[in-house]
């Protein structure tokens, strides 16, 4: 074999195709050539892929102009020396060849090189030493550049060492070109010149250690030797002229070097705008960050313990204004006697009315009804009223009040006035005070001894002026002069009748009931009652007691009767018919407009009563047969009040309530708490104001039903066995029952019970613990706690 094989890139003056030249080089090596000289003429990929030489070294000398990718795919043992410059991509995918280029090398030198070394005696073009690799199995690749690099040097460099000497560089500040090291993940770059900006995200400068310097100077000597420029060593081996840039570690890459926002906030933002930032000059409100759960003044909502702020529905429903709930509370506290006595402050007839005759609107209003629970039994409590002890009766006032009419309304107002220390005399024609209570309530509705006892209790303290005859206007004017106030309570005494032929045959219900009660009632076998209301029912019941065999109640509409009266009548065998319009009354009975005849021996008319207003002067205004009053039952003569059926037909409890309201107003006027007022221009009945049912005005409105919580009560409870049981089952609407649930449920332990003087107490919330969740309101059986928006901030 020849020592040196020459392969020309031209044949007969014609350039050989890269493929042909490649074949010739490969053939030569295969045949044993280990030293080749190639006269290149721009051919591609020269000097690479000479692996058929196995481990034997091959030396390739390239003269002329090598083409792109010289030494690409190079393998260990291949040594290439290019006598002039090299084109682009020299050493591309080099896997071990050692290359010396005496001139410049083009763009992309050492792109994707993994092993081997490339020594360049001039500059390299852009994107050199990019995408390099470093395989742990082999020595790292190296690129040595005597001059400078082009732009974008070492992009995505992943390993190896680049050494850039910067000899004859155009600009010592730019020996690495523009934007080196972008995407660099591994390897090191030693360069000479001024320290340069490398891609901050990817690379970083590092100090050159003594070991580094030893390595660099030794290899530099060899590099210069390969180039035949040993004399440059002294110039280049100046340690302070060298810099080392290396890839950042992944850990270093995630460390952001940006200014922190808090630093920017403090040192840039607030510095330019002033303390407090954007609106520091406009508001002093603290705007610093807070959490989602806050306490104290930062709560959006705060709980309030609204004990006794609202009226319980039972009390609000009671026209007499009896504090039913409070009475149950007293019983829960073991103070039964006080609970019973308390009733007399509101009504003179607790047993008669609450216990027997009243439809108990308090029970209709009971919150428990909303949960299909049986209302607390106020009737049971009412019956206890027979044992009630009247309160102390002062007589401190010199004001005189005349009450005209001694029925339930009149007795109520006189009773109330008496309780307040005023002397009220009742003018009435009957022998004894009592009115309709006394005269016309059937005995089966209430035990006579109960009624008698309660009437006696009232009579004892109420002076009775018995009138000889029906009151006249002159009588009225006389009383008006002698008394400071007059309360009209004559009720509805005049029965309404029908303008039909034969109406003279009718018996009025009032006459019938009075006679029945008095013991001289008479009735035929067949009775027809016109008007099937509750009074009609009473008539039917009494008629049956007196021996009637057939009972028919007719009405023009669906009968309005209800409750006990209706039950008793039905029990007595009463038939209800409607709609029936009476045409005439004959000896045979009642003839209806549709021609039917209802046979009757006795026909009772029970279509209501109307007041008899003849005795009252014209300045007391009236409308549709009733006296016009304001919210405290004051008539258009401010000294004159009107109550009960004179004002509006109603229940006993309503008449009693009217009395209490009027008495309260009179007492207020006397005491100067209320002006007498001019009432002459009052045109119509005004709505009763609840505050007059609650003299202290603590509870101005009724508590909303939604605030109470009935889940605590047994829905299957069918009835009540005792007053104590009733009291326990009362939800205590609007008034704290001191159950301790709020203390227990509060997640922050913010609620505690605070004892106050006189056995009073309050549930107190510690605002610094409370988060405003409203659990207290959600759990409270009585509806005391509520959550309201906190005082606005800012």
């Amino acid at each position: 074999m020849q020592n040196n094989t020459f392969i020309a890139g031209k044949e007969n003056g014609v350039r050989l195709e890269s493929r042909i030249l490649e074949e010739r080089i490969q053939d030569a090596v295969r045949q044993g050539a280990r030293e080749l000289t190639i006269e290149a003429c721009g051919q591609h990929c020269l000097g690479g892929r000479l692996w058929m030489a196995k481990e034997e070294p091959i030396h390739v000398t390239i003269t002329g102009a090598p083409g792109q990718r010289m030494a690409s795919l190079g393998v260990p043992g291949t040594f290439i020396e290019v006598m002039g410059p090299a084109s682009d991509d020299t050493g591309w995918l080099n896997a071990g060849a050692e290359v010396v280029v005496h001139g410049n090398a083009g763009n992309g030198t050492c792109n994707a090189m993994a092993q081997g070394k490339v020594f360049v005696g001039g500059d390299v073009g852009s994107r050199s030493m990019t995408m390099t690799k470093q395989n742990p199995r082999f020595p790292a690749p190296e690129l040595w550049v005597l001059g400078q690099t082009g732009d974008y040097f070492a992009e995505f460099m992943a390993g190896g060492v680049a050494v850039v000497c910067g000899v004859d560089a155009i600009d010592q500040a730019c020996t690495l070109g523009y934007r080196p090291c972008v995407g660099m993940v591994g390897g090191r770059i030693f360069y000479r010149g001024q320290e340069q900006t490398v891609s901050a995200a990817d690379a970083i400068h590092a100090p050159i250690t003594d070991d580094d310097w030893t390595w660099l100077t030794e290899n530099l000597k060899q590099f210069l030797n390969k180039l035949g420029k040993d004399d440059l060593l002294a110039t280049l081996a100046v340690r302070e002229e060298w810099h080392l840039a290396r890839a950042k570690t992944p850990h270093e890459k995630i460390t952001r070097k940006r200014k922190s926002m808090s630093e920017f906030h403090a040192k840039v933002w607030d510095m330019e705008l002033g303390r407090g930032g954007l609106v520091g000059d406009l508001t002093s409100v603290d705007r610093s960050p807070i959490g989602l759960i806050t306490t104290g003044e930062l709560r959006r909502n705060v709980p309030v313990w609204e004990n006794c702020k609202y009226m319980p529905p039972c009390q609000a429903s009671c026209p007499s204004g009896i504090p039913v709930q409070k009475r149950w509370q007293l019983i829960r506290e073991g103070r039964l006697a006080e609970a019973v006595d308390l009733s007399l402050e509101f009504t003179p007839f607790p047993a008669t009315v609450c216990g027997y005759l009243c439809p108990n609107l308090c029970m209709e209003g009971c919150t428990r009804g909303l949960g299909s629970l049986k209302p607390v039994d106020a009737k049971m409590l009412g019956k206890e009223g027979i044992n009630a002890h009247p309160p102390m009766l002062p007589l401190s006032s010199d004001k005189k009040v005349a009450v005209i009419g001694g029925g339930p309304a009149g007795i109520s107002v006189a009773w109330q006035l008496r309780l307040k220390g005023h002397k009220a005399s009742v003018f009435d024609m009957d022998e004894k005070l009592g009115g309709k209570l006394q005269a016309s309530i059937p005995a089966n509705r209430i035990p006579p001894e109960v009624l008698a006892a309660e009437l006696d209790r009232a009579r004892e303290v109420i002076p009775h002026v018995r009138l000889e005859k029906k009151l006249t206007r002159e009588d009225f004017e006389a009383i008006r002069k002698d008394y400071d106030f007059i309360v009209l309570a004559t009720g509805a005494q005049r029965p309404r009748t029908l303008p039909v032929p034969g109406n003279e045959r009718l018996v009025t219900a009032l006459d019938f009931l009075k006679a029945a009660k008095h013991g001289d009632g008479k009735v035929g076998e067949r009775v027809v009652v016109i008007g099937a209301g509750n009074v009609g029912c009473d008539v039917a019941t009494e008629a049956a007691r007196l021996g009637a065999k057939s009972l028919t109640l007719i009405d023009v509409q669906k009968p309005a009767s209800f409750g006990k009266e209706r039950e008793e009548a039905e029990k007595a065998g009463a038939q209800f018919m409607w709609p029936c319009f009476t045409k005439e009354i004959t000896a045979e009975g009642v003839v209806l407009t549709d021609g039917r005849l209802l046979p009757a021996d006795t026909v009772v008319i029970s279509i209501g009563d109307t007041p008899d207003l003849e005795a009252f002067p014209e300045n007391i205004a009236r409308e549709r047969g009733f006296i016009t009053v304001n919210e405290v039952n004051q008539t258009t003569d401010p000294h004159v009040f009107a109550i009960g059926d004179l004002v509006k037909l109603g229940l006993l409890t309503q008449a009693i309530g009217d009395g209490r309201r009027a008495a309260q107003a009179i007492d207020d006027i006397v005491a100067g708490r209320r002006p007498l007022s001019v009432t002459a221009d009052m045109m119509e009945e005004l709505k009763t104001r609840i505050e007059y049912m609650d003299p202290g005005n603590h509870m101005s409105e009724t508590i909303d039903y939604s605030r109470m919580n009935l889940a605590y009560f047994d829905p299957r409870l069918g009835g009540f066995e005792s007053l104590d049981q009733c009291a326990e089952e009362c939800s205590s609407c609007g008034v704290c029952r001191d159950c301790g649930i709020c203390e227990a449920i509060c997640p922050r332990g913010a609620i505690s019970r605070q004892a106050l003087p006189d056995n009073e107490f309050a549930m107190v919330c510690d605002n610094e613990k409370c988060i405003g969740c409203g659990f207290c309101a959600g759990a409270c059986p009585c509806g005391i706690w509520t959550l309201i928006p906190n005082t606005p901030l800012g």
């Binding site: 609106v279 705007r287 806050t294 909303l370 997640p747």
Partner: protein
Amino acid sequence: MSAVAAITPSQLSLKDLPWQIRWDKDRCTLCGQCAAVCPMQTLELGTFRKRIVKVPAGLKSKPENEHTVYYGIRQRTAPHQACIGCATCTMVCPNDAIMPMHSDEKDKLRMHVNLGGQPRTRGGRRNDSGSVLDQIKFIRISMLTDPALDSGRHEFDLRTLIGRIQSPAEGLATFKEQGWAPAVREIYPLMIGSMSFGALSPNMWEGLQMGVAYLNEELNMPVRMCTGEGGCPPRLLRSRFLKYVILQIASGYFGWDEIIHAIPHMKEDPCAIEIKYGQGAKPGDGGLLMWHKVNKLIAAIRGVPPGVSLPSPPTHQTQYSIEESVAKMIQSMSMAWGFRVPVYPKISATTTTNAVLNNLCRNPYAAGLAVDGEDGGTGAAYNVSMNHMGSPIASNIRDAYLTLCKIGKQNEVPLIAGGGIGKNGNLAANAAALIMLGASAVQIGKYAMQAAAGCVGSESDRCNVCNIGVCPKGITSQDPRVYRRLDPEKVAERLVDLYVSFDTELKKIVAPLGRSTSLPIGMSDALGIADKDAADRLAIKYVV
């Protein structure tokens, strides 16, 4: 609810509500935090009665009833307190015991949000998650045909121009005569659209502005934010940060006296003036800041007494025609800063966009046109306006751009597109699509709230209570108890994250197009859509 009481038509059961609270009794510790934090006070403690009937095996004795009581979390059903699905309860629950779930069918509440005859108003966005922008694909990917760019490696200069750009001939003439040239700003193409101080909480507003300042001064990204119509804090007006701000003037003219007082003290000119004529979320309707949101701070900035409602009517009172309106407003606003500041109108996307645009093209002072599409958000609007009024931004901006092309001014009058960009999270893709359809810049609002402040609002009608001051994240409330939940610094940080990541994504889209130093405005040959009608309408490629 009582089973025996009469029901009313608007009494709804849990099933009728859009959001139902799932509550896990086993996990709940009754800590009260969910109820305390619930913005609507939907959640309350429930007291539940439990009945157990004990029947002995073999019936050896009489069965017995046992009632016990337990507590739990209950959801109120009144329309004004219905759950909005914000899930703040979930956020505060220490035991993951509670979460609102969307109803499995259309709720009935929607028929009862008009109690008292008052139709529903709300904040948020159109309840429709559809987006034609999301369907647009970037189909021109240069690998070998053009110099393909590497978004991670190349340097990009993704900036756009706002302001009237003179034609080359005009520009040369101006230069030759040393004449007046319109002000042009080189800014980042993703702008923060107008959201007023008042609609947003002070902490939110400050957070956004701080983030904008950071982007400009620390990251060299010339991001701009529009004030919205609520004035501008005097300190900002007198700071160098003003150059990052676009001041808005709208029909309410709030805060403009403060701006005028500040002009002599301004260190910098504002970036631009936006004249608001319409808003995409509620086209044709005005705004109303309710009196209870007008606290001392808002009042001071807007230049009004506190505690009064502040209406911004749908129209400017003294402007009657396009010609007059636009010319007059642009003239006077330009004059305020000596014609050094670009002035452009903002309208809601409409079939009349082209009419406005034609007019602007004839006005040498008009600096551009902002068009806000139907998917824009708002702090408060009628539900009907939000859901049903307005035009989608895609075809509207496309029409506008093609009109500009037709008259040869496509490089002269910048279009700014807004409304629904990133509504489904695809911010960069939507922005790039609009830019390639012809927008010079895009504006975002809701996306910034969601990304920078954690807004939980959605097109499924989640939350969307920006209008009533209870924003669970403190973004749209003026109540310090609520807005202090938001740390301006954190908002700023997230805004920076948003922009930096957007920038990377935008590069990922434009690099394969071979663009690095100029935005591909109107480069519609890069766009494709798998919907023939949409492709025809937008004049882009139909691809399947």
